[in-house]
């Protein structure tokens, strides 16, 4: 079975791969997702290690019965929601237009992709 789209040949992909707009798209994608991924993983594991080895600290009350541990845990929720929103804004603004222009330039046959059972 072949995964290649019938409309686009291997040479075209090589050509795109080496083109400036694609290089820019790839750089913009990776320069966002890699640092952000490292950042949220570090923050997650810092939190896990605190919960695992710093019970006293996590048990420090802040407001009534709400302690540091709960606030940091809820902080994980806040950062997850924030990073999600941030990425979507970034992708819509920075990544999608480049990808769209590359697609518009090379995707000559939009409708020839209907698959059958054996494809």
């Amino acid at each position: 079975m072949s995964n290649a789209a019938p409309s686009t040949s291997a040479e075209v992909f090589t050509e795109i791969e080496r083109s400036r707009p694609f290089r820019r798209l790839k750089r913009k994608h990776r320069s966002f997702v890699f640092p952000v991924a490292i950042l949220f993983l570090l923050w997650y594991f810092a939190y896990v290690l605190l919960a695992d080895y710093a019970h006293e600290f996590m048990a420090t009350p802040v407001i009534g019965n709400v302690n540091v541990g709960l606030l940091l845990g809820l902080g994980q929720f806040v950062t997850t929601f924030a990073i999600t929103t941030w990425y979507v804004m970034y992708a819509n603004r920075e990544l999608d237009p480049i990808a769209e222009s590359i697609r518009a330039q090379y995707d000559t046959d939009e409708s020839a992709n209907h698959e059958d059972v054996t494809a």
Partner: protein, 526 residues
């Protein structure tokens, strides 16, 4: 101990099943091609699909398992929800869109894209089947516990019969509905589950005058003052602390390797819709986990640790017991029906993933080398559904009584060890080779499975699956901390130790397609 009126529980549940079956039948009338059956014709919108992802993800583990873990172990149970949620960022940033752009039906489509197809496809399908199987076991354990609580069935035989009935229903769902029917069931169920949890959350908070601190105080007073801080379950020794770390690692890296979640990215028309659906899913799942925090501590405060552990179904019964405490038989009936439907829907989603993987990857592409007669693949998928249904029933009878969230964490560990390294390497690392993929997938899967078999989960502890014998030598109950790094390491070493004779043009094509969506599978016309 019997909770509520069994006949109310059963009639509410029966009504729900009838309604969803009608919807499945209506939705499935247009199942014509493989793309329809597996990927729902790629016709769902982002928000619809996001809700379905939430439905797939918020399984019995999230509802019954996390509520129970927080009610009994307090803060240590909270970690499950945090890990399950943060994990979505890995899927959103590194996997979802790139995968949607590159593949077709299954995870193996992507992994074998630029490597030697048959061996890689076979390995990927093996990983898929293993993860689905463990995930199914967890759901079955949840179903058994829930129903034994509802009907007051305490004996093993009664619970086993219940599991057989669930299995039968599930097989029917999947055979009739395919992916489109299953997606609708997930959407309906996700909405019901989130609304149900929201109502209970507000109810619990209202009892404590909407003062979260007072609720925590009551939980601490009624169960154990230690539940507000970490350490109740995992703080006992250095070993249990390491187990906690292992669990945390498996949780955060597992999601992006779960085949039934990855498959959901193919039911939308474009990568942009895939992104939208993940965003929807993250919000829905995150908000739901905030509810479970309140529900877990609410159950601890209003019912108490001892009562929960003594109830049929044990730790998994915290949420239904809380529903009974709040709204009597009727709320218990509704919440249990929702929880039951949750299990049913998740089981259906898992089964169809496993069946697709077997039919599409193993049968059509490895055994038949792509030469299958029209509809042959779908027929094999249907047979596989029946076989997997039977295996899940047998396995589910074996794991009755275990905490569901814990069992699911094992599936996460396997997914993170066997699938995630190869997914990330093949998307981001050009030098990655077939040998690297095979070493990583079989090595990650094999080590995870071996460590589980020789851990206290299987033997040697009070809660072990096999009682009375002890052949355990691995001290941790979650293998993640060993098997996940091993999976990554083997992929790297295997690639470096092989000649770089992979298809460069294919690698370039994958690079271009994953980022631009050029040549990606389109929605079929309906």
């Amino acid at each position: 101990m019997t909770i509520g009126e069994p006949w109310i529980n059963i009639s509410i549940f029966g009504a729900f099943v009838a309604v969803t079956l009608v919807i499945v039948l209506r939705a499935s009338r247009n199942n014509k091609t493989a793309a329809d059956y597996y990927a729902a014709g790629r016709s769902f919108t982002g928000p619809q699909n996001g809700t379905a992802i939430a439905g797939d993800y918020l399984s019995a583990a999230s509802f019954l398992g996390i509520c129970g873990a927080i009610a009994v172990n307090g803060y240590d149970g909270f970690l499950y929800s945090i890990g399950f949620l943060v994990a979505w960022l890995v899927a959103l940033l590194l996997v979802a869109e790139l995968l949607r752009n590159t593949g077709k039906f299954t995870m193996a489509d992507v992994l074998s894209f630029r490597l030697k197809e048959r061996p890689v496809r076979m390995a990927a399908a093996t990983g898929t089947l293993a993860v689905c199987f463990f995930y199914l076991l967890a759901q079955m354990a949840g179903a058994g516990g829930l129903v034994s609580l509802l009907l007051g069935i305490n004996d093993r035989l009664g619970q086993s019969i219940v599991i057989i009935v669930v299995g039968g229903l599930m097989i029917m769902y999947v055979l009739v509905g395919g992916m489109k029917g299953t997606t609708w069931v997930q959407i309906i169920k996700a909405v019901l589950l989130i609304v149900g949890a929201a109502v209970m959350t507000i109810w619990v908070l209202a009892i404590y005058g909407f003062n979260f601190s007072d609720l925590l105080g009551a939980a601490a007073a009624n169960s154990d003052a230690a539940v507000l801080a970490p350490g109740v379950q995992y703080g006992l020794s250095d070993l249990s602390r390491l187990d906690f770390l292992s669990l945390a690692l498996a949780l955060v890296l597992g999601t992006a390797g779960l085949p039934h979640v990855l498959m959901r990215f193919y039911t939308v028309p474009t990568a942009k819709e895939a992104r939208k659906s993940v965003v929807w899913a993250i919000w829905a799942i995150g908000i739901f986990y905030l509810f479970t925090l309140v529900l877990g501590y609410g159950a601890g405060a209003l019912i108490g640790k001892e009562t929960i552990l003594a109830a049929p179904g044990g730790v998994n019964s915290a949420a239904p017991l809380l529903a009974f405490e709040l709204g009597g038989s009727i709320l218990l009936g509704i919440i249990s029906a929702v929880a039951f439907a949750t299990i049913l829907a998740v089981v259906a989603g898992l089964t169809i993933t496993a069946a697709t993987s077997f039919a599409h990857d193993v049968y059509a592409n490895v055994i038949k080398k792509g030469k299958v007669e029209p509809n042959g693949e779908v027929r094999v998928a249907r047979i596989t559904v029946v076989v997997i249904g039977i295996l899940a029933i047998a396995g589910g009878i074996g794991v009755q009584g275990q905490n569901v969230a814990f069992l699911v964490a094992l599936a996460f560990a396997i997914a993170a060890s066997a699938n995630l390294p190869t997914i990330l390497y093949s998307i981001f690392w050009k030098r990655f080779t077939t040998r690297g993929a095979l070493w990583s997938m079989y090595g990650g899967l094999g080590s995870a499975l071996i460590l589980i078999v020789f851990s206290p989960v299987m033997s040697g502890a009070e809660t072990s699956i096999i009682k009375g014998v002890d052949f355990s030598w691995f001290p941790l109950s979650n293998p993640g901390i060993v098997s996940i790094p091993l999976g990554f390491l083997l992929g790297w070493v295997g690639s470096l130790l092989s000649r770089n004779d992979e298809d460069v043009a294919k690698a370039e094509e994958m690079d271009v397609r994953s980022l631009t969506g050029l040549g990606a599978e389109k929605a079929t016309k309906d």
